[in-house]
């Protein structure tokens, strides 16, 4: 049996599923923001009381912990050491209070142009130590091409007794220096709290399961990472909530075409788009307005949900994005979207009379009929969702491509179906079917889809391989692999190596995958020419374990 837990903004959900994905037990408790562990323990106890806890083989946990630490600015002080070389002024990427720009530079081919200034680096480290800083991020420009200076900084930092050091190249092989700095910064900033939480989780799981199953933490790309790895890269656990829901839909529905996934919650609606049945992945998400290199399922969130406030703007009825507590039907003070459903008798929940009285009150305030107010509120909500979906699909289809082949044989996404989940899903089903003019499917168990997704998500990992046959070198930054290669090393070799290292790495973490789930995302080989002579090949391969669910 697999156990899935999703700690969300409003609720903490848990399910126990068998290996075929059948739900054996489910539980839902309110999330206690002050003490997430307490919510996890409560839901664990509840859901495990319905099954034999000894039979739990694996726990996948999706938690807002890291996100909350960042959003609530409860991060630990991080010493940030960067060397950027030429380009944008270092001040522009400053993050945190202990930011040190160092001399030293590496160019786009990984050649060290200016060595690190050792004295300067040691001074910066000493200054951080003096300020009581214990965790660090070290990032240099083009470190995925050559991690030399980052590794050097790591050595100096661990000699100085740092508790934790986050290196840019170990977090992503993608090129984007400012994002790499942010990612390493956040990774160090949440490290201690995450690990304290992880210890407590481990103890609680042991306590309730009477043994310790494999624990995995959900990532924003819809995959999981083994518990041990999550302790080193806690930043990967941010914003995994929307991904859990999307993975749940994959588990519950057989999706093979372009489609839209909507998760309508109390405050927001999360939107995801699938191409040919597979979720789209974004190379880096923003956390608290800081762009990072944390991969995520492409989702957007708009301020329309069951609890969204109904208000009136220049004679037009509007919904959201504000939420002022629960709907009247559940003891709230102001009418919200769910009250409009109640008024029209579309999906009665809670105290229907309270909803009716509330709508009549605001309608008379605005000099309108309550039926019109309720209808317009629902129309505005569905129209907002439709527009957000259209904009998202448009943006995806407008994404730049870099080859003539791709530009001329442009694959465009045209969603043919809508999958709907979340608390108010049933209420919205028919309205959205009309607005989208598409089949709208609401799966069973739609209110715990997120936990099901968490329970069944597969471990994902991505590697970038960069090879330069002129320099006879191959680098896989996030696995810290730097290897010599022969002059005949070609694209096929590179793809094979990338796959091999990816699977080997997972195996070392106790995750057995065969090659079937490996996608080659990018695979290019360029001739390097000097004086009309081919001097070598510049090869780039990027591959991943495809996000997905494992059902046997």
């Amino acid at each position: 049996m697999y156990l899935g837990i999703d700690v969300g903004g409003t609720h903490t959900d848990a399910v126990v599923v068998d290996k075929a994905g059948v739900v054996l037990a489910a539980a839902k408790v309110s999330t206690n923001h002050e003490d997430l562990l307490c919510s996890v323990r409560e839901v664990l106890e509840n859901v495990l009381s319905k099954v034999q806890p000894e039979g739990i083989e694996r726990l996948n946990l999706s938690t807002t912990l890291s996100t909350n630490i960042i959003v609530e600015e409860k991060t630990e002080d991080v010493g940030v050491l960067v060397s950027s070389g030429p380009g944008l002024p270092m001040e522009m990427i400053r993050v945190g209070r202990h930011f040190y720009g160092l001399s030293g530079s590496i160019d786009h081919r990984g050649v060290e142009v200016v060595p690190l200034d050792e004295a300067e680096a040691d001074q910066a480290i000493a200054a951080c130590r003096e300020d009581g800083v214990k965790v660090f991020a070290a990032v240099t420009k083009f470190s995925p091409r050559n991690p030399l200076q980052e590794n050097d900084l790591k050595q100096r930092l661990s000699d100085s007794g740092a508790d934790f050091i986050s290196l840019g190249h170990q977090l992503s092989g993608m090129l984007n220096f400012p994002r790499r700095v942010n990612t390493a910064y956040y990774n160090a900033a949440v490290w201690r709290t995450f690990n304290t939480f992880a210890d407590a989780i481990e103890a609680s799981v042991q306590e309730f399961c009477h043994h310790l199953p494999h624990i995995h933490i959900l990532k924003a790309d819809g995959g999981t990472m083994p518990f041990a790895l999550s302790r080193e890269t806690p930043v990967e656990s941010i914003l995994s909530g929307p991904a859990a829901s999307v993975m749940g839909i994959i588990a519950l529905c057989d999706i093979a075409t372009d489609c839209v996934i909507l998760d309508i919650g109390g405050t927001t609606t999360d939107i995801a788009v699938f191409a040919d049945g597979a979720p789209l992945v974004e190379e880096g998400i923003e956390v608290g307005s800081h762009p990072t290199l944390v991969r995520a399922l492409k989702t957007i969130s708009i301020g329309v949900g069951g609890d969204s406030l109904i208000h009136c703007l220049k004679g037009e009825v509007r919904v959201g994005p504000q939420r002022l507590g629960p709907p009247l039907a559940f003891g709230g003070k102001e009418p919200s979207l769910m009250d409009a459903f109640n008024f029209l008798g579309l999906a009665p929940v809670g105290d229907v009379d309270a909803s009716k009285q509330g709508l009549e009150r605001i309608a008379s305030d605005w000099g309108m009929s309550p039926v019109i107010v309720a209808r317009q509120a629902l129309d505005h909500a569905t129209a907002s969702i439709k527009k957000a979906v259209d904009d998202m699909v448009f943006a995806i289809n407008e994404k730049p491509v870099y080859t003539i082949m791709e530009l001329l044989h442009d694959k465009r996404i045209e969603p043919g179906k809508v999958y709907l989940m979340g608390g108010p899903a049933k209420a919205f089903q028919h309205l959205l079917a009309k607005v989208f003019a598409l089949d709208v499917v609401v799966p069973e168990n739609y209110d715990v889809v997120n936990a099901i997704g968490a329970a069944l998500a597969r471990t994902t990992f991505e590697v970038e391989l960069f090879a330069d046959t002129e320099k006879r070198i191959m680098v896989i930054p996030n696995l810290d692999v730097t290897k010599e290669i022969g002059p005949g090393f070609n694209l096929a070799d590179a793809e094979a190596k990338a796959k091999e290292y990816l699977l080997e790495h997972l195996a070392s973490l106790g995750v057995e995958e065969n090659g079937d789930a490996v996608d080659i995302l990018e695979s290019t080989s360029f001739n390097m020419v000097d004086n009309d002579m081919r001097v070598g090949r510049n090869i780039r391969v990027r591959c991943q374990i495809r996000p997905g669910v494992v059902i046997t």
């Binding site: 002024p89 050649v111 984007n176 080859t403 003539i404 001329l408 020419v529 510049n538």
Partner: protein, 440 residues
């Protein structure tokens, strides 16, 4: 987060699957390192910098500008149409005020592409700036445009296309034609009889440094631009003046390019040549992007940059100072007729020999323009080449043609169709938006 002062649209299209030939400088890898550099700098995350897909130019976009012999399909590939389409997209973003400025980082280049196209010269087939500019004029109405060509090679194609157009100021600064392909672009080449002083060439001596380029900008280009008062400024942004370029001899730096761009303040920039793909392009392109967006570019610097090595020889400085004085003197006293060619009745006629280096084609032309005070004058070109040895007649009735010139154009075509003198007869009628082929 970094914010751009000017919103900037980037059309980045490296055409990673196209080359003239595997080891040709114009090959797949050309913008690879530029992409690496722009990505690593986080350029695409800067607030106010947005990336767009190129459009694909259509046949009509090409036919509006060029006489392609024997046909558009014969002298262009999809890569050329995408490159031109990238420039068009850049122009649209600016004309529709979606972005303040736009930079099309596209390949292959176009500024050696002339009015008549028999093949590829200087790595160019069709002229992407001209196709862009005429697309703008066709769709957004008449505008006065200035094209400033900062490629190291004389922009002879753009010069040829706008030679007779009084509404387009073309300024090319380049390495002296006596030392570099295509061997043209001298100060006396000032435009056709109906557009005198609207074509400016500034040939610079080898080893000109930042100092020299910026001196020319401040003392020749800016004053002439001020005099012309363009509605739009286009930078034909070739990057082979760079000190590391393998096929030229100049000493311009990435920072120099950025400063030039900041002062020139173009609305649109279009990448042209530049083949130091590792040592120059990543840094020059970064410099231009930052300068156009109004973001601090002072940290842009090549790994092998050495200010002392790039210091300008005083002799060169003196030469350039005198050149600039001479240029302004010429500009103030432009003779009525060009040196090359002669008046024949109410036409001005000049012979032209054109060589297509990439495709090894030789072309001969007799070009005649109707002398006209009211419009750019109807243009008549008779051409034959080693690729198309049969005589062709090409006639252009310009955008703002007066009735007299319209009649002249139609008379030429009618007469040609009645005889067997020409294998191909072509008409670009900008007034009626007709691009016709006869007797084919």
């Amino acid at each position: 987060m970094v914010k751009a002062q000017n919103s900037l649209g980037l059309i980045f299209f490296p055409a990673f699957d196209w080359a003239i030939s595997p080891t040709h400088p114009e090959r797949e890898e050309r913008l690879l390192y530029t992409l690496d550099q722009l990505r690593e700098e986080g350029i695409f995350d800067i607030e106010g910098i947005n990336e767009y897909k190129p459009e694909v130019a259509v046949r009509e976009d090409v036919e509006r500008v060029h006489f392609c012999l024997p046909s558009v399909e014969n002298v262009t590939t999809k890569s050329h149409l995408i490159s031109a389409g990238g420039a068009i997209k850049a122009a649209k973003l600016v004309m529709e005020k979606q972005e303040k400025k736009a930079f099309a980082l596209i390949r292959p280049p176009g500024h050696h592409g002339m009015r008549v196209v028999h093949g590829n010269r200087g790595f160019c087939n069709i002229n992407i700036e001209a196709i862009m500019l005429e697309h703008i004029r066709e769709h957004y109405g008449p505008i006065r445009a200035a094209i400033v060509d900062t490629d190291c090679h004389h922009g002879d194609g753009t010069e040829d296309i706008y030679w007779h157009d009084p509404d387009t100021l073309f300024i090319s600064l380049h390495q002296d034609g006596r030392t570099l392909y295509p061997g043209t672009g001298f100060p006396q080449e000032l435009g056709g009889p109906n557009a005198r002083g609207k074509n400016i060439n500034i040939p610079l001596p080898p080893n000109t440094s930042d100092e020299g380029f910026l001196y020319v900008l401040d003392n020749v280009i800016m004053p002439i631009l001020e005099d012309f008062k363009p509605d739009i400024i286009i930078n034909s942004a070739g990057q082979d003046n760079h000190f590391s370029d393998p096929i030229t001899d100049m000493r311009f730096s990435a920072r120099g390019y950025a400063i030039l761009n900041e002062r020139l303040n173009p609305d649109i920039a279009v990448l042209e040549g530049g083949y130091a793909i590792q040592g120059a392009l990543p840094y020059v392109n970064l410099g231009i992007v930052l300068a156009m967006a109004g973001v601090d570019y002072s940290g842009v610097r090549e790994p092998d940059y050495d200010a002392s090595l790039l210091e300008q020889d005083p002799k060169i400085t003196k030469y350039i100072t005198e050149l600039c004085d001479g240029m302004m003197n010429i500009y103030a006293n432009v003779p009525r007729f060009p040196k090359e060619g002669e008046v024949q009745g109410d036409w001005f006629v000049r012979p032209k020999d054109i060589y297509y280096d990439t495709d090894d084609i030789s072309e001969k032309q007799v070009e005649a323009v109707a002398l006209c005070d009211e419009c750019a004058g109807t243009l008549k070109i008779e051409t034959w080449s080693t690729a198309n040895p049969m005589n062709a007649l090409c006639v252009e009735i310009p955008r703002n043609a007066c009735t007299r010139c319209v009649t002249k154009g139609h008379d030429l075509i009618e007469k040609a169709c009645r005889t067997d003198d020409y294998r191909y007869v072509r008409l670009i009628d900008r007034k009626e938006k007709q691009y016709l082929q006869f007797g084919y």
